[in-house]
Symmetry: C2
Subunit: 355 residues, 2 copies
């Protein structure tokens, strides 16, 4: 029997790991030089956060994350016909803003672990987590503005808009945790702010630095926004059913934090006996003084009900829907063929990843 | 006997309160509109911080601070020959950054009161203090960058540099609290970062928005930097000997926080019996488990030793020295005569204030 040829042969030949690796290789030295500008002890605390040193200050080579954003920022420059290198300051600025938000969010959410390591507030205290987060945010703007071009000014403006949305999204996320019901629409809006906006910025910032017009930049942002929503839907699935070995988080991580993530919200919205039972259980949990001591089995039972009510399947489909819209958005503009194939391959990677 | 005529009669006729009031009147509506952009509950939390509502959400008219920075930003525009109104976005951006730092610093320092009211983290929790601080910082950049001119880009760059220094200064301030000895030089460097940089930016940002060249902007920054050092020296005096009724802080506020402020550092550096005795006491305090329960008398005894060792007098003189350097800096450039008189009068106000 003949094998079926792939629909888009170019996509199948894209080496996504090489793309991610290129982003890391080009961005990391600039990121390290930026962090070196901080006065002690902020330089050390930031180096710990990025995994370059351990808690005792010894050189280390810890997992620095997937680095999807730097890879996108470099591709973004190529999308505008500029060399990938033109996107480097954009890649670094976006990484700085992303890590500013991780430092502050981990503290606000009380998360003790990230990427298999103790979080900064746990090792260096809350004040350093606040301060170094602030410093990374400021550094991001400094790095772009010191380029001094009109393009860099436009890039900074897009980054600032994205950062404002990121903060809005975190505010919504926190306020939803205290509410009994959140609609699917509210959840998608929050995730668009919290994850979509910065991914959208990553995919447009290189192009803007490379002199792209607003139409190309906006189209790339649209791709990035929907890619972000797909990314977050997958993250929400991993937050409940992810393998702790792969994610570096606790089992049932999002359930332990009462996160109103997509699977939960979709399950509560679905109706039917499992949905109703889930609603009763979560309402009781919200008042329970014993929640901190819940067993693995109790969380497993809640995850089971979410799945039974259809929340897991709905979220998987949502990831695929957003993935399709992202790819579709790219059809609106002329792009170098290899860039289109690489952006498509990165979108595929985002929805099949295990961590 | 004839009265001695004032050296600069114009200065004596400047109404500093009217200048401060103009800054408040022109900046506040734009500041409120900016804060209204935040998603709930951040808009409410920010409105509480600025004193526009009370902890229950009722309209209030609390003390919003001295508003020296907005007054300076408007004068700054006039220094470049532009209308005062040109400085408004700069005034608001600087106020946003200043208040971002207050929100985060109060949390990091554990300060429960500011301007006679409970601080944000105390009323709305640490997460909101972090989040709303972040949001104000982002809003500051947004407000400037959406103007979209080359001048606005230059203004944002100066604001970013100042913000980075502000964060450096807070990092130094925190790290000094854990050290036994800090030199006067280190203390001045920290205060230049923490207070000088943003005041310097306030005095240049209006001029930059009004099209000033770098020479005028740098001169205004120099005035602002030294004014900031004078301002902070006075703040350090008020932090120990200020009247709690006027300052809105606890008695011996900085001593309770083990702040290595100028009077303390100068006293420790002075040598002599009182200096030696102070050093021994503070070293013992650092190890004391009972420090939290110290009586008024114990703090008063430490303040007495600081004064005896000459720390209070040295700091008063330092305020006057920096005041003189600030005024002197203005001689390097052409300025409209009323602007020069007003900048001089504001400098005078800063060193004689009681709160």
């Amino acid at each position: 029997m003949p094998t079926v040829p792939p629909v888009n042969p170019a996509v199948d030949t894209v080496d996504v790991n090489a793309l991610l690796e290129r982003g890391r290789t080009l961005a990391t030295p600039v990121l390290r030089a930026a962090v070196d500008r901080l006065v002690p002890p902020m330089d050390t605390v930031a180096a710990y956060h990025f995994g370059w040193i351990d808690a005792e200050g010894r050189p280390s080579d810890a997992d620095g994350g997937k680095a999807v954003r730097p890879a996108l920022a470099l591709l973004s420059a190529e999308a505008a016909g500029a060399p990938a290198e033109t996107g480097i300051p954009g890649a670094v600025a976006v990484e700085l803003v992303h890590n500013f938000s991780l430092l502050h969010d981990d503290l606000m959410d009380g998360d003790e672990q990230r990427r298999h390591r103790d979080t900064v507030w746990k090792v260096h205290g809350p004040a350093q987590a606040i301060l170094v987060g602030d410093a990374l945010f400021a550094l991001a703007n400094e790095l772009l503005l010191e380029i001094g071009t009109v393009e860099a000014g436009r890039a900074t403006r897009r980054l600032t808009t994205a950062t404002r949305k990121l903060i809005d999204g975190q505010a919504q996320d926190i306020s939803y945790e205290h509410r009994e019901r959140v609609t699917v629409q509210e959840c998608l809006e929050m995730e668009g702010n919290k994850t979509g906006a910065l991914l959208a910025c990553a995919v447009s910032i290189g192009a803007v630095l490379g002199g792209a017009d607003d139409r190309l930049a906006d189209t790339l942002e649209s791709y990035g926004h929907h890619l972000g929503l797909a990314f977050q839907a997958v993250d929400d699935l991993l937050g409940i059913w992810g393998d702790p070995e792969a994610t570096g988080k606790q089992t049932w991580s999002d359930l332990r934090q009462r996160k109103k993530s997509l699977p939960v919200v979709a399950a509560l919205d679905a109706g039917g006996p499992a949905s109703k039972r889930l609603g009763e259980l979560l309402a009781a949990d919200a008042k329970s003084s014993d929640f901190e001591n819940f067993s693995e089995e109790e969380f497993a039972a809640r995850a089971e009900l979410i799945e039974e009510a259809g929340g897991r399947e709905w979220t998987s489909q949502e990831a695929r829907r957003q993935h399709a819209v992202a790819i579709e958005a790219l059809n609106g503009v002329e792009l170098p063929e290899h860039v289109r194939a690489q952006l498509t391959a990165l979108a595929d990677f985002v929805v099949v990843r295990k961590r």
